[in-house]
């Protein structure tokens, strides 16, 4: 049964929809085969010790705040939108990557729920806030993201937003992303995209020469690539407009920078509006990049263009890649990242001749919303390059990461979410976080990434010094235990 249903206000969380898990210990192959037979029913394990996670509300905001002409309301206490100013910064500093010369101020509001609202309800406050936001900003759409407090007190956010939409004549979209609903903050992406799919994207009128790219705010690599085929990227959602989003149903196909991110929207666009989705893993590493361009060429009916592009790029970059392999061969690396992007990073490492000694991946989706086993990004990595030992699913539990790093002591730590590199550095391990999710894409990306890895491994003076002086709050007892001691026990 399809996981996409745009007629209901709320998309189901990943645990329920995809059978996703946040606790697993084993190898990549074991996880892939466990999923192969589990039909989405991989058993999750809980932890009897846990640290701060992250929640859906900020990830929903991540999909909505960077839309050029929309406003965002967090319906909750003031703290539930505390970190969103970071998106305002991102918007401002990365706007030039999307040819936006004058980035406008992000419009982020809180209904500022207080104690009396938890007793009498916050509906009136939300109504008034929507009216005031419209008056103040005149946005093209207003998104209302929900929070734990709003969820538990039971405010009828869907009715309030529908009424406001009728009154104001712009989309007013309820996005349900209360933190306690899901252990996977990525459920927040799905919530944001569900809101966009059900209220912003319009049914197609005529096909356009555009290709949807579901991504964050990385460099504009797709413009050059798609240009060779006569198409333009339609970026979703950072730096889009309500208008460009509304036409994403008219694209010829959809690609994703990371399947963990775009799974739901990619499937929604395909199932509801017939926009095809590239099934292959994103183009990280030579093998995947070949496949990805070929699938692109096939769907666009331009297979020859794809072959020429592949050949030309390879002639240019393969010698450089080979030179990097000479320098990096045998170096070990540990990866910590969101699910599918982590699989991509593992592929990159193998391509560069390096040896992944393990990975802590934030969650695992046994299947994506397109329900196609052709899209299993971890399976692709395993079948292309072999198994990955110490492949663990660990939702940003720093104590486990510290324990593992202390054991495996890789030559480099590759991280993809803020906060994790600190622990590599504290242990004297060169650590690299690449914020631009497109950085490693394509043949050129492999070279760029390889050069950064090399540079990071070589320039280790800072981390070596830091490791001699920094504080470590973890007990000796803990560092001597098995890293997954607290996983799976009954508390």
């Amino acid at each position: 049964m399809s996981t996409v249903n745009l007629t209901i206000p709320e998309v189901e969380i990943r645990e329920v929809r995809l059978g996703s898990v946040t606790g697993f210990q084993g190898t990549a192959k074991e996880l892939v085969s466990a999923c192969g037979g589990c039909s989405g029913k991989l058993k999750d394990k809980t932890r009897s010790f846990s640290q701060c996670l992250g929640c859906g509300t900020s990830n929903a905001a991540c999909t909505l705040t960077l839309i050029q002409d929309a406003a965002l309301i967090s319906h909750g206490p003031v703290g539930c939108s505390s970190c969103l100013h970071e998106f305002a910064f991102t918007y401002r500093v990365n706007a030039h990557l999307r040819q936006i010369d004058h980035p406008t101020q992000r419009k982020i509001f809180s209904t500022n729920l207080e104690e009396k609202d938890t007793i009498y309800g916050g509906g009136k406050k939300l109504k008034e806030t929507i009216d005031e936001v419209y008056k103040r900003v005149h946005p093209k759409a207003i998104f209302v993201i929900t929070t734990c407090a709003a969820g538990i007190i039971g405010d009828d956010v869907e009715s309030i937003t529908n009424d406001a939409e009728a009154k104001l004549g712009i989309p007013v979209v309820a996005v349900f992303c209360e933190g306690f609903r899901s252990k996977m903050w990525t459920s927040g992406f799905d919530a944001g995209y569900h809101g966009i799919a059900r209220k912003i994207i319009k049914p197609p009128v005529q096909k356009r020469k555009i290709i949807n790219v579901i991504n964050f705010w990385g460099t504009d690599v797709f413009r050059e690539w798609f240009g060779e085929f006569g198409y333009e990227p339609n970026y979703i959602t950072p730096f889009s407009t309500i208008d460009t989003l509304s036409h994403s149903s008219e694209a010829v196909l959809t690609v994703q920078a990371c399947s963990s991110l775009g799974s739901y929207l990619g499937a929604a666009l395909e199932q509801v509006y017939g926009v095809r989705e590239i099934r292959n893993s994103p183009p990280y590493g030579i093998v995947q990049t070949d496949r990805w361009f070929r699938e692109l060429g096939k769907i666009l009916n331009q297979e020859e263009t794809a072959e020429k592009l592949i050949q030309r790029k390879k002639e240019e970059y393969l010698p450089k890649i080979e030179a990097l392999r000479e320098k990096l061969r045998g170096k070990t690396a540990y990866v910590t990242a969101g699910a599918s992007h982590g699989h991509s990073l593992l592929a990159l490492l193998y391509e560069l001749g390096m040896k992944p000694t393990g990975a802590a991946i934030f969650h695992h989706d046994p299947i994506y919303d397109n329900e196609s086993s052709d899209s299993d990004t971890l399976l692709h990595t395993v079948s292309d390059y072999g198994d990955v030992e110490n492949y663990n699913v660990c939702n940003k539990q720093e104590f486990e990461l510290v324990n593992v790093l202390n054991r495996v002591r890789p030559d480099i730590l590759l991280a993809r979410h803020g906060g994790m590199t600190l622990w590599g550095a504290k242990l004297g391990i060169p650590s690299l976080l690449i914020g631009d999710e497109h950085f490693g894409m394509g043949y050129e990306g492999l070279v760029q990434y390889g050069e950064r890895i090399l540079e990071t491994i070589e320039n280790d003076e800072f981390v070596k010094n830091l490791s001699q002086h920094c504080a470590n709050p973890y007990t000796d007892w803990w560092l001597q235990q098995e890293p997954y001691t607290f996983l799976g026990g009954n508390f």
Binding site: S48, F49, S50, Q51, C52, L53, G54, C55, G56, T57, S58, I73, G76, P77, V78, G79, C80, S82, C83, L84, H85, E86, A88, F89, R92, Q105, K107, I108, F109, S110, T111, N112, E115, T118, K125, E128, T129, E132, R136, C148, A149, I152, I153, E178, G179, F180, R181, S182, K183, W185, E398, F399, G419, L422, A471, P473, T475, W477, W478, F491
Partner: protein
């Protein structure tokens, strides 16, 4: 209380977990939804301390805890915190979820208390208040549930020269580390011993244990932190001296130190007054030597410097900065904006304190935590000359629109890193002058 808030400049009650992070080797344990810690970390940025941020244990409320309660999970997390983390003090803070479902947190922490663990709990449901308010709740909870266990060794008011200082909401005041260290240096210059309680320059939990011994308390704040000194007065009969705004620069630091000196005398602190006055004089001389050197630049620089300013900050900073700018730089404070949601009963006093900075000009003051609305107000203000905006990262965009100079001095801000800089005291005033005019000079390229 405020309705909607655009561009919040503070966070919710659970943000006071940073008050715990500011105590060396203390750990906050969050009994809250999964995102609360990340929200707070993201608001303050670079604020993990010893065991805050991603290190802090959290029960990560799920549907199950919302329905069945989360005390079992909390018990398990606390039990294992002792195994995994090496800490001196554990403070359980609660989020909205725990507050609404009504978990009895005390019953869980009491079990560990009976084992003699240094554990404290405090309710900080986000909807209850904000971090300016709950800072006091956290401090008072530590006093009642931890400090009070050491009263036998620390008899009330037994050290005549010892004072407890409450002057910054850690992290919300970005300059808290530097400010506290400078207060300590200044007050020691008067002959006092000072518990600053937070930062590496405090003595950690050992210092907290000596709180009852202090002869009196010093509160530097127009309103936040007041419940702490009132509580200590009730509990240990310690009187308090309150200075209502931040003493920045020569005039106000003189005023502050002399007032403390007078208060200490009333409390029989037994300070050597002559020595203290000598210290003040020396600091003041050094300060004005710099201002003297700088005055020609301030008066003669031909290419343009800011001549007026708007400040968007909390009441303590706005009042302190207004006085400082007017009298010690010559930049005229125009409309000022206080964005920390000051309870109404304190507003008149704050207004009066700011107005008292000048006997000849009116300084309009607005109280509004809805900083987005404040920005719209500033967009419609027009004054002759080059303007300066002192505010948070949000205001950089506003300053650019208005072609004003901008200095980031408030939360949240991705545009400035603050480590141990202080803005209070004589040295703080000089540093602020450097920052303001270096910002202006950096515009000449």
């Amino acid at each position: 209380m405020a309705a909607l808030i655009e561009q919040e400049r503070y966070t919710c009650a659970i943000g006071a977990l940073q008050t715990v992070v500011a105590i060396p080797r203390a750990v906050p344990i969050l009994h809250s939804g999964p995102g609360c810690g990340t929200m707070i970390k993201g608001f303050f940025e670079r604020s993990s301390g010893y065991a805050g941020g991603d290190t802090s244990p959290c029960t990560n409320f799920s549907e199950r805890e919302v329905v069945f309660g989360g005390t079992d999970r909390l018990r398990s997390i606390i039990k294992n915190t002792y195994k995994v983390l090496d800490t001196d003090l554990q403070v359980v803070v609660t989020g909205c979820t725990a507050g609404i479902v009504g978990d009895d947190v005390a019953s869980v922490t009491d079990e560990f208390l009976e084992e003699g663990k240094p554990i404290v709990h405090v309710e900080t449901s986000g909807f209850k208040s904000n971090n300016y308010v709950s800072h006091s709740a956290v401090v008072n909870a530590i006093i009642d549930q931890y400090v009070s266990r050491f009263e036998a060794e620390n008899p009330a008011r037994s050290e005549k020269k010892l004072v407890n200082l409450f002057a910054s909401v850690p992290y919300q005041d970005q300059f808290w580390k530097g400010n506290l260290k400078e207060y300590k240096r200044l007050l020691e210059g008067l002959g006092l011993q000072v518990n600053i309680l937070f930062s590496a320059h405090s003595g950690g939990v050992k210092e907290w244990q000596t709180i009852p011994k202090a002869n009196f308390n010093i509160l530097v704040s127009p309103w936040y932190g007041e419940p702490i000194v009132k509580h200590l007065f009730q509990k240990y009969q310690q009187p308090w001296f309150q200075f209502h705004y931040l003493p920045i620069g020569g005039n106000e630091t003189n005023r502050f130190l002399n007032a403390v000196l007078a208060f200490a005398k009333e409390q029989d602190a037994g300070l050597d007054e002559e020595k203290a006055q000598h210290f003040i004089k020396e600091e003041e001389t050094a300060y004005y030597e710099e201002l003297d050197n700088l005055a020609t630049f301030l008066l003669e620089f031909r290419y343009g410097l800011p001549n007026h300013a708007h400040i968007l900050h909390d009441a303590g900073y706005v009042a302190g900065l207004t006085r400082f700018l007017l009298h010690e730089t010559g930049v005229i404070p125009k409309e000022q904006f206080i964005v920390d949601n000051v309870p109404e009963k304190y507003q008149n006093q704050i207004r009066a304190d700011i107005q008292a900075a000048s006997d000849k000009r009116e300084i309009p003051v607005y109280f509004n935590p809805d900083a987005g609305a404040v920005q719209d107000q500033i967009r419609n203000l027009h004054h002759a000359g080059r303007g300066l905006i002192l505010g948070s990262g949000w205001d950089k965009e506003l300053a650019k629109e208005k072609e004003y100079d901008f200095l980031s001095i408030a939360c949240p801000t991705p545009y400035r890193i603050v480590l141990t800089t202080n803005y209070i005291g004589y040295t703080g005033g000089l540093r602020l002058i450097e920052d303001i005019y270096n910002t202006a000079l950096a515009s000449y390229q």
